[in-house]
């Protein structure tokens, strides 16, 4: 048995250059496969991080239509609702368009109560609540731009014209890796009052709310409470659409579905490519060793043994390549996560991805050996021997 293992190892790396090239191909493919899956995961991260006890109420027409502020009191009175806050998408530009990150005007006390995953030191929380022009940001965002508490952050408005300046009052940490640490929150009151003071302000816009975030006691009641809320405003001037936070986040993901589908297709293509490369290697290997395999057959080994020998060799190479690829994925993902920055705020290689990478490598190894193994199981011993020299 030991002899067999040595034969296997020796065979697998006998053709040093070819084995090295095959391994490079495998490492690249497995790594790319893992990264692509991680990109897709990152897209869904917002939905994954959502809480099942939060609902989002928005205008039924589309997210770009605001809701009146006075809806808040009526939603709070709905049975089963435990908390209520609201947020407006600000859409400001920090220095250049390239520095995109989400900014929300929120009602701080109620918003932070609904989002316990944003962990903020008490002193900073008090400072933020007290300062109407204050803002808080996530840890990753602060690190990216080198912001410190007390800094002024200027934003150029696209939806709300003019330049806005906020004083950074706190930096929150996510309770775990899935929390978005790349957003900026500031006072909704500051926004609405600034608009009110502008000449020619549209009163409809002054006291308007982008979305209501509704806390509920029981996750199981989500559907029922959503219906109750929407029924309140049916046939009003601004009808609402209430859904779970997860469904709300997924609706963003589904907008880019075409791109996601393409990425997923491509991550499968890479596995097929490397399968072709590896199958090619194994075919050549088998062709070169016809004489050896024939000799083994003459010595009395069964066709099955010879096939297993080849398959084991293929799997061994695939396994080594796969493990290297997986090992390389983690640092590479960290690097890519840095590079894409705020575009995909949560960029983390999941355990499932690692497992799938390993499975993909083994699948490549198995498929690659199939055709040559079938060939050598059928060789004529005499013809094989004649292949010597």
């Amino acid at each position: 048995m030991l002899l067999l293992l040595r034969l296997l190892l020796k065979n697998a790396f006998r053709h040093k250059l070819r084995s090295a090239l095959t391994l490079i191909g495998l490492v690249v493919a497995i790594c790319a496969f893992g990264l692509l899956r991680t990109i897709v995961d990152a897209w869904y991260a917002g939905a994954e991080a959502s809480a099942s006890t939060r609902l989002v109420t928005r205008s039924a027409v589309s997210l770009t239509f605001p809701l009146p502020l006075n809806y808040g009191e009526r939603i709070r009175a709905v049975q089963g609702v435990s908390g209520l806050s609201w947020a407006n998408w600000f859409g400001g530009v920090y220095v250049t368009e390239r520095n995109f990150f989400p900014q929300f005007a929120v009602d701080p006390p109620s918003y932070l109560a609904l989002y316990p995953e944003y962990v903020l030191p008490d002193a900073q929380r008090q400072d933020f609540l007290r300062d109407r022009q204050g803002a808080i940001v996530g840890r990753k965002l602060a690190d990216k731009f080198g912001w410190r508490v007390g800094d002024q952050i200027p934003l150029r408005g696209t939806i709300y014209p003019g330049t806005w300046s906020f004083t950074l009052r706190g930096i929150y940490d996510g309770v775990d890796a899935s929390t978005d640490e790349q957003q900026l929150l500031f006072h909704w009151k500051y926004l609405s009052e600034s608009i009110r003071q502008r000449p020619g302000a549209n009163p409809a816009r002054v006291d308007s709310v982008g979305v209501y975030v509704v806390g509920i006691r029981e996750a199981d009641d989500a559907a029922l409470i959503s219906q109750r809320i929407d029924a309140l405003f049916r046939n009003s001037l601004a009808e609402t659409l209430t859904e779970t936070e997860k469904a709300f986040q997924l609706s963003f993901v589904s907008m880019s579905e075409a791109i996601l589908v393409a990425i997923q297709a491509v991550s499968l293509i890479i596995v097929v490519i490397i399968m072709a490369v590896m199958a090619n290697t194994m075919t050549m290997t088998a062709r070169e060793r016809l004489a050896e395999y024939a000799t083994l057959r003459v010595l009395g080994f069964s066709p099955g043994f010879v096939v297993r020998l080849l398959a084991a060799e293929s799997l061994l190479i695939a396994l080594v390549g796969g493990l290297f690829g997986i090992a390389l994925t983690l640092p590479l993902a960290a690097f890519v996560g840095q590079a894409v920055g705020t575009l995909l705020p949560v960029f983390r290689v999941s355990e499932l991805t690692l497992l799938l990478q390993l499975l993909a490598a083994l699948l490549v190894g198995a498929v690659a050996a199939a055709w040559p193994a079938w060939r050598i199981s059928r060789i004529d011993i005499v013809a094989g021997l004649r292949h010597v020299g």
Binding site: L17, R18, L21, T22, I24, G25, V28, A29, A32, L36, A60, V61, S62, L63, T64, F65, G91, R156, G157, T158, I159, P161, G200, N202, A204, L237, E239, L241, S251, S254, M255, S256, E257, A258, I259, A262, I263, V266, I269, I270, V272, I273, I274, A276, V277, A279, N280, T281, T283, M284, W371
Partner: protein
Amino acid sequence: MKALPLSYIARNLWVRRVTTVLTALGMALVVFVFATVLMMSEGIRATLVATGQPDNMLVLRKGAGAEINSAIARTQAAVVESLPGIATDALGRRLVSKEPVALINLPKRGSGKPSNVTVRGTSDLGLTLRPQVRLAEGRMFRPGTSEIVTGRAIADGFVGAGRGETLRFGGRDWTVVGVLDAGRSGFDSEIWGDSEQMMQAFRRRDFSSMVVRLADAGDFERTRAAIDSDPRLLLEAKPEIRFYAEQSEALATFISILGTALSVIFSIGAIVGAMITMFAAVAQRVGEIGTLRALGFRRGAVLVAFLAEAMLLALVGGCVGLAAASLMQTVNISTTNFQTFSELAFRFTLTPGIAVETLLFALLMGLLGGFIPAWRAARLSIVDCLREA
């Protein structure tokens, strides 16, 4: 230098059919990805570029960037309308369209998943200003009614948007009386209705944008200066073509960067595959190399022959990949343009430039994969070759 005949090179590939096909298949897949990505960003670009007209000027609120963020008060619109240099139609009307633009959430046919669709309020002038848009089915909406016409992609892709069907938004039902063929421009993904009716339905006081036909496109700079210098306006003007090109930039750039990065990573796999194949080809033909050199073929001829073999292999893969990619031209896809937050339908577009680029990319892979093996083949000593044969 005298070279070896192409038939020798081609037949050697033919002799090793299985290996050749596997290697070429790997390359074909890479080429396919490379080509479709280019075709995708070209399709987006072509769609949005076709949306703009060379002598049209688009006016938005300063800093708004997109129509959906913009607001133009009626008083401001009147000032712009009275500027000199605006073209008139046969009836002497100024060719200006003042348009409210909104996003509404509609479910897609088939999946039922909601997506944002652009709704534009316009008049018959809107059609005059966009000669690429024509009515494909039915008739145009009548002013002052709840009638709408839908772009081809919307009519086909969304529930209730076909001719004769009804859509509900803004508190009323709208009857689809016609379908627009916008010549593969962005208007294929829009819904058009009467401007005043839309303003009422969405309770808007302001227009979103103005489209102005200039009597002379060369007058643009002067007109823009007039708008810039008027303190009442706070508006900005852009040539329509540039506006739409900018709208496509982020998405097209994102897709081409993502796609190019993927193609480069994949190509490493394919290059490794070609290298393995060519190393094996060299090893198999050492005796032939010695014979050819003895007959008087120079090292360079051997180098060129093996390089040409690798590149021919890549060219086969390239042609297969490109042929597969060209089939994608029949596929219509749509995704959300994250700059406008709305649905955009487009087609994979294959241009001669992309075809050339793709084949060059394939040849480059062949060159990179073939160079080291070919170099090695050329470096062998004649005596060693003949001894090993």
